[in-house]
């Protein structure tokens, strides 16, 4: 057996170094696109940006994005309310009460739903709500379709957050004579809140950025959204990006980038908020390092 093992050491260290270099390059390549996209969008949108983009409604292939902004805000609020409540309640049930077969079936169906492509959900939304129930292009159709997409994420993150509540906390509360409902609200939910909030923010980001589920359910309109649930087509930011990007007029293309810029800014804000939430709630945490 060769005792002259040290002569291989040099080679092995060289290979090690090469791998480190390659992985570092990989890291740069992974980070670069996000920076590039954000910069690109801002560079194309900012120079021509004026407040009219926010204050004016769309007019033909130009105008502003006000109707889209309000539209996105409206739909998103609705989705957070609907999907948020259903999702959180579902997460509570799956983490606290469900057991055995039923739990597996319910959880799996949620996961399968999450895996369905957004366009398929949009198609169903169109068939069932816009046509089937005769709602026409509407806030209601868009809202419900998007909620269906987003509920599984909220349910999952809520469930995980609740499951991570240390049994010690709960037992401590029981020992003190807390009623079960009180344990749920005061202890479990409160501890799980950061996790739940993060899940909601993820859902929020998805809602703001989705297009396919809304294209054939919310329709489009250049007016501000009607606050009716049926027969109320409305505009939304992602639509502006999709429709205007390849139009022949410069104004349209600019609107497309403006909308993209607004979307990117929203996403950045959401990331910052979720970081703040985590930092704020972990100030007393025992997991803090």
């Amino acid at each position: 057996m060769s005792q002259d093992t040290s002569r291989h050491s040099g080679n092995r260290k060289l290979i090690n170094l090469a791998v480190i270099v390659l992985c570092s390059i990989a890291l740069v390549l992974v980070i670069a696109p996000s920076i590039w996209i954000v910069l690109q969008v801002i560079i194309r949108a900012l120079p021509h940006f004026s407040w009219s983009v926010i204050t004016q409604n769309g007019v033909g292939l130009g105008g502003g994005l006000k109707n889209e902004i309000v539209g996105t805000a409206t739909i998103t609020t609705g989705v957070m309310v609907v999907a948020g409540s259903i999702g959180i309640l579902s997460g509570i049930y799956l983490s606290q009460f469900a057991k055995g077969r039923t739990a597996v079936i319910l959880r799996s169906s949620s996961e399968v739903l999450a895996g369905i492509p957004s366009i398929v959900i949009g198609y169903i939304g169109y068939t069932a709500l816009v046509v089937g129930l005769h709602w026409g292009f509407s806030l209601g159709a868009g809202l419900l379709t998007l909620s269906a997409m987003v509920v599984p994420y909220i349910a999952k993150t809520t469930e995980v957050a609740l499951r991570q509540v240390p049994t010690a906390y709960i037992e401590g509360a029981e020992a003190l004579g807390f009623k079960p409902t009180r344990i749920l609200t005061r202890i479990s939910l409160k501890t799980a809140l950061p996790g739940i909030a993060t899940g909601l923010i993820v859902a929020l980001a998805i809602s703001i950025g989705e297009t396919a589920p809304l294209l054939y359910t919310a329709g489009y309109s250049q007016n501000l959204p009607k606050l009716a649930l049926t027969h109320s087509p409305l505009g939304y930011l992602t639509y502006a990006v999709w429709t205007f990007y390849n139009q022949p007029t410069v104004a349209a293309q600019r609107l497309s980038f403006d909308a993209a810029m607004l979307l990117v800014i929203f996403v950045l804000a959401l990331i910052a908020i979720s970081r703040l939430i985590v930092a704020f709630t972990q100030r007393h945490s025992e997991a803090k390092r």
Binding site: M1, Q3, T5, S6, R12, K13
Partner: protein, 275 residues
Amino acid sequence: MKDLVIDREEDPGNKTSQRTDVSTSRTILNVRHLDIGFGDKHVIQDVNLAMPTGSIVSLIGPTGSGKTTFLRSVNRLNDKVSGFWTKGSINLLDQEVLSKEIDLLELRRQVGMLFQRPNPFPMSIKDNVLAGIKAHKMAPRAAYKEIVQDALEKVGLWKAVYDRLDDSPFRLSGGQQQLLCLARSLAVQPKVLLLDEPTSALDPISVEAVENLFSKLVPEITFIVVTHSLAQAKRISDYTMFFFDGKLMESGVTSEIFENPQMPETQFYISGRIG
């Protein structure tokens, strides 16, 4: 019985006792003015010692005394811990361990380590034994079978696993896993083995099996064993070194340390008054 060779440090301010002695066996490990710390924490203070080749040396002392930190510094395993710093010299096998130029890969081949809890690699039993051989390119493929059998026989595991060499090691008992880790270390032909409480997680039968191995493998291999069990130290080691509060309080032949401790701290520790 080989005698311990340790230079006596004339340092009245430093309350340690080292028995000087007679003959000149070769020392395999020579430590001079060693200081170790993590950031602001000064964990090892001015330690000087020498360990003779081919012996079993146990490091004893209460938790936090620095013995494990010292052990892990000998094969530079502490390097990755944040804030780690050392001063002084650790001379092992005539190489300066703490120097930047040393070939760590080769050092760690010559100085093996066994951990508190067995840590087999996520690969088959056979591949575990061969892991070091392959990494250091120590033998051609044709020799693998023989090497595996050799190493497993040495640790007394062959009969138990010869027919399931491709199985996952995690199905073995704790004691068997530790023996596997030992086989893995032995396969690369080390000269020194560092053991960090190697039997603390094992059942008594496995403890005995592992301890018996030590005496079989000496003097080709020098053993440095950190142990919390005074009984174990008495059972297995030729020499004992007592660490307390980061300093090497006392060292010498095991029987002398236990029957005739010179320092009050040693006395207290051995009698259980401090622990």
